[in-house]
């Protein structure tokens, strides 16, 4: 299967670390993360609202979350967390697929949604990806997930497939 990508590469994104103030006036640090940040990330997913799950992730049970974290914090992945007052409140990840391209996912804790943190997280993760030399990033998102689709479009993702329940989008870095 070959995936389509935009013809033109995206502009340069800011990389981590960054500190931003969200629309509610909360100070949020955007930091690169890896397996050593496991505990903080786990903490966030344990308090994640099950209604906000997307396409089966994050998994519901703690053991399944642990297995999933092993994958997404594993070798050759890139991660950025949003930290407010010492707690992880958002997380975005890039995981290599079988073709050497990278799949993106992002989660922001419910009380922190809609304040611009998601946009900053994705931009910072793409900035990190650019500095690591990644070129092809893709994702799928449920058609009815308006905030996510709006965010991805705003950042520069283009829709490559819109015929099924999930929309596929991609960006060239």
């Amino acid at each position: 299967m070959t995936r389509d990508y935009p013809d033109e590469p995206a502009d340069k994104f800011p990389g981590p670390p960054r500190t931003v103030t969200d629309r509610e006036g909360r100070e949020v640090e955007l930091l690169a993360a890896d397996a050593s940040d496991h505990d903080g990330v786990l903490e966030m997913y344990l308090s994640f609202d099950p209604a906000d799950r997307a396409q089966g992730i994050p998994p519901a049970r703690e053991e399944a979350i642990e297995d999933w974290l092993d994958t997404i914090l594993g070798e050759d992945t890139l991660n950025v967390v949003a930290v407010h007052e010492g707690s992880v409140v958002g997380h975005a990840t890039l995981v290599p697929d079988r073709h050497g391209e990278h799949e993106l996912a992002i989660f922001v804790l419910q009380p922190f949604q809609g304040a611009g943190i998601g946009t900053n997280l994705v931009e910072t993760l793409l900035g990190l990806a650019q500095s690591e030399g990644l070129e092809k990033v893709w994702l799928t998102v449920e058609r009815w997930n308006d905030p996510a689709v709006a965010l991805y479009k705003k950042v520069g993702f283009e829709t490559t497939e819109a015929e099924s329940f999930e929309i596929e989008m991609s960006i060239l870095l």
């Binding site: 299967m1 997307a54 396409q55 089966g56 992730i57 998994p59 999933w68 994958t71 997404i72 990840t93 995981v95 290599p96 697929d97 079988r98 799949e103 993106l104 996912a105 799928t140 015929e163 099924s164 329940f165 999930e166």
Partner: protein
């Protein structure tokens, strides 16, 4: 019950075959396996048929094998289920990407949205 199982050659479709045979052996359901070509999978109908026959032989279970021709397997499966009075359609589906996101293929999606016959999705 008369079960119509669609097999398009993905790993999940073979998994669904094994599960369905096991269940049918326990319940006495009649099974028809409909083989089709899934664009998202690189397996031709002959390969799939061989794999299905092997599984049936190994489990010592009798099922009817049919071949869906044409390039809209989802719609053919739905029509076959209705015209031949099947009680249930079974499909494997809901593949996970490396990252863990579940994605439904186009055939599964068509069947879920269009079937009047109850559908069971095995993953």
């Amino acid at each position: 019950m008369d079960i119509l199982l669609g097999v398009g050659g993905s790993e999940l479709s073979y998994h669904a075959l094994e599960e369905t045979v096991e269940r049918a052996q326990a319940t006495g359901d009649e099974l028809t396996v409909a083989i089709f070509h899934n664009e998202e999978v690189s397996a031709d109908a002959e390969e799939i048929r061989e794999r299905v026959e092997t599984t049936l032989a190994e489990t010592d279970f009798d099922a009817t094998i049919r071949r869906l021709e044409g390039d809209s397997p989802g719609s053919e499966l739905v029509s076959m289920a209705e015209s031949d009075g099947f009680d249930r359609i079974v499909l494997g589906g809901g593949e996970r990407s490396t990252l863990g996101k579940i994605q439904l293929g186009a055939i599964v999606e068509f069947v879920l949205l269009n079937s009047q016959t109850p559908v069971t999705l095995i993953r």
